[in-house]
Amino acid sequence: MSIDSIASIANVSMMDPALGPAAAAQQGGFSQMVAKGLDEVNQKLLSTQTDLQKLAVGDVQNLHQVMINLEEARMSFQLLMQVRNRVLEAYQDVMKMSV
């Protein structure tokens, strides 16, 4: 899962809804916030891959938990994509402004 390319927008300020109130308080931690969010989504996706492999090999512990984790990972990934889209739009809006 190669989502390292999204890290290039780390210097653009981003509204992460989960960390909104805390982030508004401090101004300097946005890149760390983005990196942390990316890392969390990545970890979720990696753990779903492990779960799927366990399913295939026959090591099933908890089917509904696996499905719930899959769906959560998919939703957080889609949220990440939408956030990225909005941030890019905002960036393009800013760049369109004539100086």
Binding site: V60, M67, I68, E71
Partner: protein, 147 residues
């Protein structure tokens, strides 16, 4: 608890009930066979169903030595044993196998008891099948999580 254990549990229950049906049918079929004077021919059988032995080596092998939850230790296992019912004596003085007093001994099979055990075995079998279907439906519904 994963769904593979569920199927194994219901399958064990169904095997026990099938053993019961087989034994009841065998007893009923042999109810009228004559026992010779030393009583060696047909002994009525019964099914004893016990929980599986926890330390049984075969059980460990079949579970693969890992992931053995506590549920699989309580699987029922049926063993068929002689019931030890005393033979019933019927007075038939002209019978070739009659003893000195003119009594012929037949196996001590009670048809009413065998019929009852047949019917209860059938209902238990249906109940096991219902349990397995319920478990399967639940697992299929779990697949629908997230649309």
């Amino acid at each position: 608890m994963d769904y593979t254990h569920t199927f194994a549990i219901s399958a064990a229950g169904m095997s026990v009930e099938r053993a019961r049906v087989d034994v009841a049918a065998l007893n009923l079929a042999n109810a009228q066979t004559v026992q010779s004077t030393d009583g060696k021919n047909f002994q009525p059988l019964q099914v004893i169903a016990r929980s599986a032995d926890q330390g049984s080596f075969n059980q460990l092998i079949s579970q693969g030595m890992q992931g053995a939850s506590e549920f699989t230790r309580d699987l029922p296992v049926a063993s068929v044993e002689v019931s030890g019912a005393s033979p019933r004596q019927v007075y038939e003085p002209g019978h070739p196998f009659a003893n000195a007093q003119g009594f012929v001994s037949y196996p001590g099979v009670d048809p009413a008891r065998e019929m009852v055990s047949l019917m209860t075995a059938m209902r238990s079998y249906e109940a096991n099948v219902a349990a397995m279907n319920a478990a399967r439906t639940m697992a299929l519904k779990a697949l629908d999580i997230g649309g």
